[in-house]
Amino acid sequence: MEKQINHTASSGTSNCDLQVRLGDMTLRNPVIPASGTFGFGLEMKDVFDLNLLGGISLKGTTREARFGNPTPRIAECREGMINSVGLQNPGIDALVGEKAPALRAVYDGCIIANISGFSVDEYVDCCRRADACKAIDLLEINVSCPNVHGGGMAFGTDPKMAAEVTAAVKRVASKPVYIKLSPNVTDIVAMACACEEAGADGLVLINTLLGMRIDIRRRQPVLANKMGGFSGPAIFPLALRMVWQVAHACSIPVIGCGGVASAEDVMEMMMAGASAVEVGAENLRNPYACRDIIEALPRVMASLGISNLNDLMI
């Protein structure tokens, strides 16, 4: 199904086209703010023109509204940060009934719903509703959640569980289903292949790495939850390595994510095999991060003699 989502980009540099193919879709450029780092998009509409963005991945949503974890939820690291937000969100009904349609009213790019669940049933229920929502273009399935019915291990740490979620969601969705993989695994390729075999239309990697800080003056963990998800530039080489491995092992599109902070990082991820790139933690440091990266892309491409962002995988 051919779906042209965005108009031709005005790149500012004559020979330069920022458009990328993502499965059957075309995005105006490869830059997408990652889930959890851009709210529901609307919060940013007066900060810069959202229609600069190739796509927007919305805050992770669960079936029920969630308060999230106790604070402190944020810990600083040298070249990154750890968060234990704990999937605070208003619930799937608010996403499909209010948030996504309100964003669609002001944004014409690819709207990505990030779905989390603690049981296969919850994933299916949420995806059925997200799939029926006209404002949503793509379903990004966060399998880093613990399977509360399966002993508490994250779905994304067991290829069989990840495949089960993928297949179950694919049965109820007509829109593209991309599985967002956890890096806290021994074999990311096995995870990716299991999801591809189960019918995933694409993959997003990576989610955060499990990390921790201790306050040496108070002698206690910085985070109330003790551990959380580590992100930022320090994880870029890890994310890049996993994108490389998965892109070379699988034939479905890969969206690369993890420590991306610049247009150069975007190019690097795409050379590793990413068709599009999500920018996460950098949005917290610089609200204009995605805009700045998009604006810098033509110059960086020109310096590399690149005029097209498709088929860059080395």
């Binding site: 780092t37 851009f38 308060f67 604070t71 944020i74």
Partner: protein, 292 residues
């Protein structure tokens, strides 16, 4: 979030006003700061996340008199004053910075205090570095013709900040120190109670409206000389102030933050209306909203 602004500020002066506590004056585009109770996010070279610091004072360009040539910004710069204490690596670094150094700030953050909630007489209660945002608030309330009573609480006399600056505004200032080295011995709540005592000695009291709508609220059996309170300081202090003051009031919260502008949900606080972001829905919340 129409106000968000990212720009460079130049350091005009930095002075240690109490042990490890600094008054930092900056010059730059302050146009996004529209009132008291807002805050800024300070980027420090080598630190990953910004540091959220409340606005102590802001002076618009037109109020600065003669423009000086310290900065080359296209518009005439305003002056921004921050009062902060060294709490960790970032503030430690900030304290080493000198006039002429530049800092990149996000401004236009936070909802700020609502001064219209006070009818005539405001009680401002600050503890530690919580006194900072009350300074601009006091000026705003005075400019509206309201009366302002200020209570500042610290651990000990050496830690007192902004007392002279508040007095210079012409407001009544009551100091409390936990060790009794100045003013009322104890906490700000002990100082609040003395107001009611003073009042029963003959000062005219205000027929205040308490939060349930009834007239003439009492503290320990006395009417209180304010119709609204504003407080900022340690959480336990603000809760105690809310419990003691019979009127409605506003508390300015702080929390470890990620972005500081409402998109990461790192700084959530529980309220009567559900989870709220301290950075964007706050940092100022009413006593009722907080359920305190």
């Amino acid at each position: 979030m129409g106000r968000l602004n990212k720009s460079l500020f130049a350091i005009v002066s930095q002075r240690e006003v109490a042990p490890r506590s600094f008054l930092l004056q900056l010059e730059g585009d302050t146009s996004a700061i529209t009132g008291s109770g807002q805050f800024v996010q300070v980027a420090l070279p080598g630190r990953y996340l910004r540091r959220p610091i409340s606005v102590c004072n802001v002076t618009a360009p037109q109020d600065l008199g003669q423009a000086d040539n310290l900065t080359r910004t296209s518009g005439r710069p305003g002056r921004l004053t921050l009062l902060y204490k060294i709490m960790g690596a970032g503030t430690d670094q900030m304290a080493t910075m000198r006039p002429g150094d530049t800092l990149e700030l996000l401004t236009g953050l936070g909802n700020g205090f609502d001064t219209s909630a006070c009818r005539e007489k405001a009680l401002l209660v600050g503890g530690g570095m919580g006194v900072a945002p009350l300074y601009l608030l006091a000026q705003e309330l005075l400019a509206q013709g309201k009366q302002v009573q200020v209570i500042l609480g610290f651990n000990q006399a050496s830690e007192i900040c902004l007392e002279d600056e508040f007095r210079a505004l012409g407001v009544e200032v009551l100091i409390s120190t936990a060790d009794g080295s100045r003013g009322v011995k104890g906490f700000v709540t002990d100082a609040i109670k003395t107001l009611a005592e003073q009042d029963s000695a003959g000062r005219s009291t205000l027929n205040a409206i308490s939060s349930d709508g009834s007239a003439s609220p009492f503290v320990d059996g006395q009417t209180v000389p304010y119709d609204y309170f504003y407080t900022c300081g340690p959480m336990v202090m603000m809760k105690a102030v809310c419990a003691l003051c019979p009127t409605e009031g506003q508390a300015s919260l702080e929390e470890r933050m990620g972005c500081g502008f409402g998109i990461c949900y790192g700084c959530t606080v529980a309220t009567q209306d559900g989870p709220r972001r301290v950075c964007a829905d706050g940092p100022v919340f009413t006593k009722t909203q907080l359920g305190w």
